[in-house]
């Protein structure tokens, strides 16, 4: 039977292809495509008393011009994303380099650093809320023990420290993931290139900057983009640790969307949907710009 009569080039009929694709397509359409389209639809409507009124771009205008909490949330998310992404990838790379040179206990260290990645945000959040507790939290206890009681803080209760405290927790959870990915990439580097650099009396720092990092560039860019997207959508950790407080100092766009949708005692999903749409567009734009800026023009082959 020819391909034109319903058989693919590898011999499967269109019916068979459709049969295998259908379950995944149905799930995708029901749980991804429909919610996305529905969110766009909601964003231009006002829902009130079981009716919906088309309001055009009014929700978007209100968000951009009359909502100080939204802008506070944008500022917090941006800070978290920029600082967190750089620290995440840089930290992971440094840890991977440490392990790459094969220090003693490198295997247990790898397991220890990677373990937080396997824990859920809920568990991580609860553990760190305890660690940060003013009275009995380990951090303040250690500070007191070291005679540095003057530095003890209500880490999550002070607007000046709360966002950074959450960021440290996030780093603790994700450093291990970046470390493992970088370590795998390091082990995949061609030994002859590194060997050649050593034969040329290339110092370790020069080897890192001029040989290793350029060859790791695709991996690092992927990590940066993944980390960036993850942080732009940050919700669970903040929700568990601070709920966006104190005084909106840890409010992220995602926690704000949730509050507007579910905590404000309205069934109006229009406004929070508009925030979600706006934020999604911004994430896509940022990722596109970031990928373009970081993309290497010359493809490195090894």
């Amino acid at each position: 039977m020819s391909a034109s009569s319903g058989e693919g080039s590898r011999g499967a009929s269109r019916t068979a292809i459709a049969t295998f694709l259908a379950p995944a397509l149905v799930v995708y359409a029901g749980f991804t495509l429909y919610p996305v389209l529905r969110t766009f639809y909601n964003s231009v409507h006002l829902f009130k008393e079981r009716t919906q009124e088309f309001v055009g771009l009014r929700n978007f205008l209100d968000i951009l011009t009359q909502d100080p909490v939204f802008w506070k949330a944008v500022g917090n998310t941006a800070t978290f994303t920029i600082v967190g992404t750089i620290a995440d990838v840089l930290g992971g790379l440094l840890l991977a380099l440490c392990l790459f040179v094969g220090p003693p206990l490198s295997r247990p260290m790898r397991v220890i650093w990677f373990t937080p990645v396997l824990m859920s945000y809920v568990v991580v959040g609860i553990i760190w809320v305890w660690l940060y507790d003013y009275d009995w939290g380990l951090i303040n206890v250690i500070l007191r023990w070291l005679g540095l009681g003057a530095f003890e803080q209500s880490w999550l209760g002070d607007p000046r420290t709360a966002l950074w405290a959450v960021l440290v927790t996030h780093l603790w959870k994700w450093l291990g993931f970046n470390m493992i990915v970088c370590l795998a990439a390091l082990h995949a580097l061609p030994g002859e290139v590194l060997g050649a650099a050593e034969l040329d009396n290339c110092g370790w720092f020069a080897k890192l900057v001029y040989v290793i990092i350029p060859m790791l560039r695709p991996t690092l860019i992927n990590l940066l983009v993944l980390s960036f997207i993850g942080k732009m959508m940050l919700f669970d950790l903040v929700w568990i640790m601070t709920g966006g407080g104190p005084l909106w100092s840890t409010e992220t766009v995602s926690t704000y969307v949730y509050k507007r949708a579910f905590d404000w005692n309205t069934f109006d999903l229009g406004y929070p949907s508009a925030i979600a749409v706006l934020w999604s567009v911004m994430i896509v734009l940022f990722v596109a710009v970031m990928t373009r800026l970081l993309r290497s023009r010359d493809r490195l082959e090894f």
């Binding site: 009130k48 008393e49 079981r50 909490v69 809320v129 940060y132 507790d133 003013y134 009275d135 009995w136 939290g137 209500s154 999550l156 209760g157 002070d158 607007p159 709920g243 407080g245 104190p246 005084l247 909106w248 509050k259 579910f262 905590d263 404000w264 005692n265 309205t266 069934f267």
Partner: protein, 427 residues
Amino acid sequence: MMKTRAKWHLATVVLAVGLASAARAEEVTLTVWSHEADEAAKVALREQAAKNLEKSHPGVHVKITWYEKDGLNTALRTALPAGQGPDVFYVEPDQVEYITNGYIIPLDSLINWNNIYDWARQVWTHDGKTYALPEEAYTNELYYNRQLLAKLGAKLPDSAQFTQAEFLDIVKKARAADVTPIDQGVGDRPYPGAYIIGEALLRKLGLEDYGKLLNGKLSFEDPRVVEVFTWVKQLVDAGAYPKNFMTLKLGESHHYFYQKPGALMFPMGSFYTGRAFVPVEKGGQAPDFPIGIMQFPAMDKAACNECKTVAVGASFAINAASKHQDLAAAYLNELATPEMGKRWIETVYLQTAVKTGPTEFSGPYAGYFKELMERQKGAKYFTGMPVDILTGQCKDTFVQVMNKAFPGGLMSVDEAVKTMNQGCYKS
């Protein structure tokens, strides 16, 4: 012969299948979604009401699904707009959106309201219609440790109410003695941090003006309001609250008060008993814990120092999309019998919206209940917690400012008043 027997067998099978189908057709499953899965006494009561309904309505099966509050609310918010959800579900009075969006039906003609206190019914009455059956009631109380108060050399007046100056003095004395004066934590709730300031505002302003304040009709820059904020600021600056106020959770704050490290006072709804009156190994207070109840302090030049907040907690509503509304109402009526009300008090150790008639308290907590009832004498009640009344931006501002940042010492009086006005006052 064989053919005839086979025919009879076939007829019997058909008849049996037919009867089974008919029986199935008559069987009805009433679905109930409830919060408070972790409160055994309340679970037992609601299960008992289900059994009572099943007994009086053969063929009816009541299926209760137990949730935690957040999970329940999320499930309802998805199910109700889609015309789905259970026949009956748990609601609290701040969830007026179910009414405004038409997701629950009026119960005026469906419930035997003679069994429910009028004030509690009023909480659920909107535009002349009553939308939910109130089950749980509570008052805001100021619990204290008698032993610690005596150690500080203070004596509770006969009225059980200190003046605002005396109260400030006690807070200072407690802090000087390295005792946490007021145990409170806002780590996981939107309201505990505002107990002191809320009750002080109620006493200072009186029922009417306090209601206006919460409804955006009175400015937070009103001098009386500013005076209250200033007094609370003095308490905060005197170290009234624990240092871990911001992260301490509700359950932990109970433990903090009656176990470790201990505190002089603990403002809390009278649902305090749900966590405290359980065995010590399950996180309850020791049987010999010297608990007392005092009135919240009397404010200077107050409009109503005998005022206090009463609120309705657990309530149940009927889904407007339910196909079994009469049965759903019958289940609610089973929850609201005087017998169930009495059983509530005796097993949950908490007030109820259900009329029970005279109740004889006995057992280890009889003294506690006597004192709780004593604190209600002569009280004028304001119905509803601020979080039950506020909505939208005002509620969010209340949670961030009056519940957290202001008692947490992060804001000045001016900043707090200004921020509250921006969020709530409809000038």
